[in-house]
């Protein structure tokens, strides 16, 4: 957050910098005092991102250390020896200072020992907050005393008084001299890790597992974990790093502090990634707990446990609002036919179970095959398609109408009906089972996540077994009722309550429909919602016309059926239309998420003179991820896109795409990230942004349009 605010104010600085020639900021480099009387090994300066103080405002300042060649200063955790720098602030009344925000450290081996720190130059950031009552027109002197240890082979403690006098006024541009240093420091501060991380400790080793799937292992040059506390790991021990489809696993020697690893560890993971233009370092703040949120790194539990959990999850599914009505109606039908021959009922139960198991098998099979093909999908993957979601809304709506009594789908679907012993009756039960499965997919019961997560990491046969256990759990209540006559006798006596219950059960289904329409809204925006709602209206009309003319003359009935079928056909035709309605109108849940890139779309937009920002990215590209997290998807950038009327296209290269590869090649690139800004006219060449982005860089580029 702090980083974002920093970038926003940085952006304001740049904006105003276009119009104002900033007055040079007087930074008098304070003399560092070296107790030995020799020249100080570190020259320090207090630098500011902004040349003025804003009443009640926030100001990022940096302690810049220029370190003599061969010498180093220390990080928050200095490693095997040393001491991190401190700043004792002596600020005017009302001011407050935050803690030091540490840029990513380097590892500095000293003989057999290891230090963590900085060489050459480092800027340690601190956020200061001004009181609201500072008088505009005056000036404020910010003072403090910095102490640090600087070491080569020997160590020297040094200290210096810091002073920086800033005028009080609006936010003014940062000085040209100090802004880049603050910007560099900001980029070197670790970003929160997007990946779940867990920790395993033995008597001698500590293993940190970072669930970062699908990293391009061949592009990773180096990985190092810097713990933020002493004692958890042996700082100097080699770190054995494995990168595979599950993520990064790092094993190293345990540190000397007893029980330290058991309470978890936090620190900074620095990954050096090879890009086209050289190697970049990305730092992530990680917090690994022994409880471990990462499913992939958990010790896998027994198949039996997974099957048990799946069975329980399947049972739970019966209580979900989308499934309960389907099951209840079947159960009600049983009530009405409690006296039917046991063999017949048993066959119905088995048909229903068969329907559930067959459809679960089909779904799981599709899931397994797609995942083997490299698709990163989980349970409920089918709901990623607005077409499927719309279709599901139609089916559940029709089912709800039938429960409300508007439509009689009749014996085949919802009940055992008159043709209890007839074959179509069994087919109906089988179909009801399939329907229950379809209706169940959006409702993930609490136990299912774990079991499915396990299933998907297992060989296909094991995965299928777990999925079928889930299906069996779903089918179990009805199966039990049909197989065990004793249970059936416990059912209440048939009566008018059955009809009323059926009608009441329509409402959970209507609720499910409302939810599915909302999902469509998230996926394709209000236009898609309108089309799906129109489809539902048509289905309602078709149901009414069909039901209302049941007692009419055959001629009328035929006409009504024709009209009803036509309505349903139109409704069905609307669904793909809804699914393909432009997604740019969809509200994005997390800042700017662009519409997918196609060369055609880009050409269209450019022909219209619309400025375009194209983000060539991939899920396995760490730099892309960091850029999106710290800059591209931030509200400030989204606001700038909106203000400048820029269309944001995302070219996702996670999976191979010859189209995207061709565009990358046209920019002389063989990989991502690549950021291109196209201006309003085709005359101007598109502008390629640096591979490391900040909000400031993007906003500045957008301002040039």
């Amino acid at each position: 957050m702090a980083i974002r605010l920093l970038a926003v104010s940085l952006h304001l600085c740049i904006l105003s910098g276009i119009f104002l020639a900033g007055p040079a900021l007087a930074v008098s480099p304070p003399r560092a005092k070296a107790p030995t009387g020799s020249t100080p090994k570190v020259s320090v300066a207090l630098i500011s991102e902004s040349a003025a103080v804003e009443p009640g405002g926030m100001l990022w300042v940096g302690l810049r250390q220029r370190i003599a060649p061969g010498w180093h200063t220390y990080w928050l955790n200095p490693g095997d020896s040393g001491e991190p720098p401190t700043i004792e602030w002596a600020l005017p009344p009302g001011w407050s200072a935050g803690p030091i925000v540490w840029p990513q450290p380097e590892r500095l081996p000293v003989g057999p020992l290891m230090s963590y720190g900085y060489t050459n130059e480092v800027v340690l950031l601190t956020r200061l907050t001004a009181p609201a009552d500072v008088q505009a027109g005056t000036s404020t002197a910010l003072r403090g005393r910095a102490s640090w240890l600087v070491c080569e082979k020997i160590c020297i403690p040094e200290e210096a008084d810091l002073a920086l006098t800033l005028p009080v006024g609006g936010v003014k541009p940062a000085t040209a001299a100090t802004a880049p240093a603050i910007e560099r420091a900001r980029r070197a501060v670790p970003a929160p890790s997007p990946w779940p991380t867990s920790l395993r400790a033995t008597a001698d080793t500590v293993t940190v597992s970072v669930a970062a799937p699908r990293l391009a292992a061949d592009r990773i040059a180096d990985v190092w974990f810097f713990p933020s506390r002493w004692g958890v790991i042996d700082h100097a021990a080699p770190q054995a790093v494995t990168i595979d489809e599950r993520g990064i696993t790092l094993r190293t020697a345990r540190g000397p502090l007893p029980a330290a690893a058991e309470s978890g560890v936090d620190g900074v993971l620095v990954i050096r990634e090879r890009l086209d233009q050289g190697t970049v370092s990305q730092a992530f703040e990680i917090r690994a707990s022994t409880e471990g949120a990462a499913a992939g790194s958990r010790p896998p539990f027994a198949l039996a446990t997974a099957v048990g959990l799946a069975l329980a999850g399947g049972l739970m599914l019966n209580l979900m609002p989308c499934v309960l009505p389907v099951l209840s109606v079947k159960a009600i039908a049983l009530v009405g036919h409690a006296e039917a021959p046991t063999a017949v009922l048993r066959r119905h139960g088995l048909s229903y179970t068969g329907g559930v198991l067959a459809s679960f098998g089909a779904l799981a099979g599709a899931l397994i095959v797609l995942r083997a093909g490299g698709a990163e999908i989980g349970w409920g993957f089918q709901l990623q398609s607005p077409l499927v979601v719309g279709g599901l809304a139609y089916v559940l709506f029709a089912l709800a109408l039938s429960l409300s009594g508007v439509l009689v789908i009749g014996s085949r679907l919802t009940g055992l009906g008159k043709g209890l012993a007839s074959r179509p009756g069994y087919a109906g039960s089988f179909f009801a089972g399939a329907l229950a499965t379809v209706a169940a997919t959006p409702c993930t019961a609490p136990f299912m996540g774990v079991a499915i997560g396990y299933a998907l990491t297992q060989p296909p046969t094991t995965a299928l077994l777990v999925f079928e256990a889930l299906g069996l759990g779903l089918a179990l209540p009805f199966l039990a009722l049909s197989l065990i006559p004793g249970w059936r006798r416990r059912l209440p006596k048939p009566g008018p309550w059955m009809e009323r219950l059926k009608q009441a059960l329509a409402f959970p289904l209507y609720g499910s429909v409302a939810w599915l329409v909302w999902v469509v809204g998230r996926q394709v925006g209000p236009d898609g919602v309108a089309l799906v709602l129109a489809g539902l209206l048509l289905i309602g009309f078709a149901a009414w016309i069909h039901h209302g003319t049941r007692a009419a003359a055959p001629r009328w009935r035929r006409a009504a059926t024709t009209v009803a079928l036509a309505c349903v056909a139109v409704a069905i035709a609307l669904a793909p239309l809804a699914a393909s309605s432009p997604s740019s109108s969809a509200p994005s849940p997390t800042g700017a998420r662009g519409e997918p890139f196609t060369p055609k779309r880009l050409a269209e937009l450019r022909a219209q003179g619309t400025p375009v920002f194209v983000n060539f990215t991939a899920a396995w590209c760490i730099t892309c991820l960091v850029n999106e997290r710290v800059a591209l998807h931030s509200p400030a950038v989204a606001e700038a896109f909106a203000r400048k009327g820029v269309v944001y296209l995302e070219a996702d290269w996670t999976r191979k795409s010859p189209e995207i590869a061709a565009v990358l090649q046209s920019f002389g690139r063989s990989g991502v990230p690549l950021y291109v800004v196209y201006g309003r006219t085709a005359v101007l060449a598109p502008r390629v942004l640096p591979q490391i982005l900040s909000e400031g860089v993007i906003i500045e580029a957008l301002e040039m349009i």
Partner: protein, 216 residues
């Protein structure tokens, strides 16, 4: 699709890599096996080293006595803090007066900061009015590595039965400021008091602070 086929495809798709990253210094030559170093709660590893007098001193000969090990480097600012304030010497005097053995160890290799000849070491003891039982010259760093000594000062307490009961800093103020000696919580004194009272040491392991031990 069989399991092996899909897995092979997956690996081919994403690639898998193993890196071992370590400091070149630690990969290039055998690093001290800190894993085998002294562990608090276990018997303190035995050693024999040479005192400034030239006679060998071995830990085993002090069985039945409490032994304190102090790693030092007289030019290290952190060591100077404790000697120039008289803090280290007064602790030495206080505990040796109670029959505790105090061994000061110097593991700086020749040519590095803190390395001294026996004569220089004795002179330092007399000019600083220090009161160790003996000063041991460990210029090859054998004992230092055995104990995993990383810093100067780095303190160890061995109880009468030969168990290592404390390893770490001298106190809880990891600075070079002389003013911080006053009011600091001295871990070594606390450990000694616990050992004498027959109680477990409350804080048996702390992060030693100071300068790196100048191993070769």
């Amino acid at each position: 699709m069989s399991d092996s086929v899909s897995r092979r495809r997956f690996l081919a798709h994403t690639g898998a890599a193993v890196l071992v990253t370590g400091a070149s210094a630690t990969l290039g030559r055998p690093r001290p096996s800190w894993a085998a170093a002294a562990k608090v709660g276990e018997p303190a590893p035995g050693f024999t080293s040479t005192a400034t007098s030239g006679s060998p001193v071995s830990l085993g000969s002090y069985k039945g006595k409490i032994v304190i090990l102090e790693w030092t480097n007289h030019d290290c600012p952190y060591v100077r803090k404790h000697y120039e304030t008289g803090n280290m010497q007064s602790l030495q005097r206080e505990v040796t007066g109670q029959g505790v053995v105090w061994l000061t160890l110097i593991s700086s290799s020749p040519g590095t900061q803190g390395h001294v000849t026996p004569a220089q070491a004795d002179e330092l003891t007399s000019t600083r009015k220090a009161a160790p039982t003996a000063v041991l010259l460990d210029e090859k760093g054998v004992v230092g590595r055995m104990y995993g000594a990383t810093n100067t000062p780095h303190m160890y307490v061995v109880d009468k039965t030969g168990l290592l009961v404390y390893a770490g800093a001298i106190d809880d103020r990891p600075t070079t400021r002389r003013a911080d000696v006053q009011g600091a919580n001295n871990y070594v004194r606390a450990a000694l008091e616990a050992v004498v009272a027959g109680q477990p040491v409350k804080t048996p392991v702390t992060r030693a602070y100071g300068c790196t031990v100048k191993y070769s």
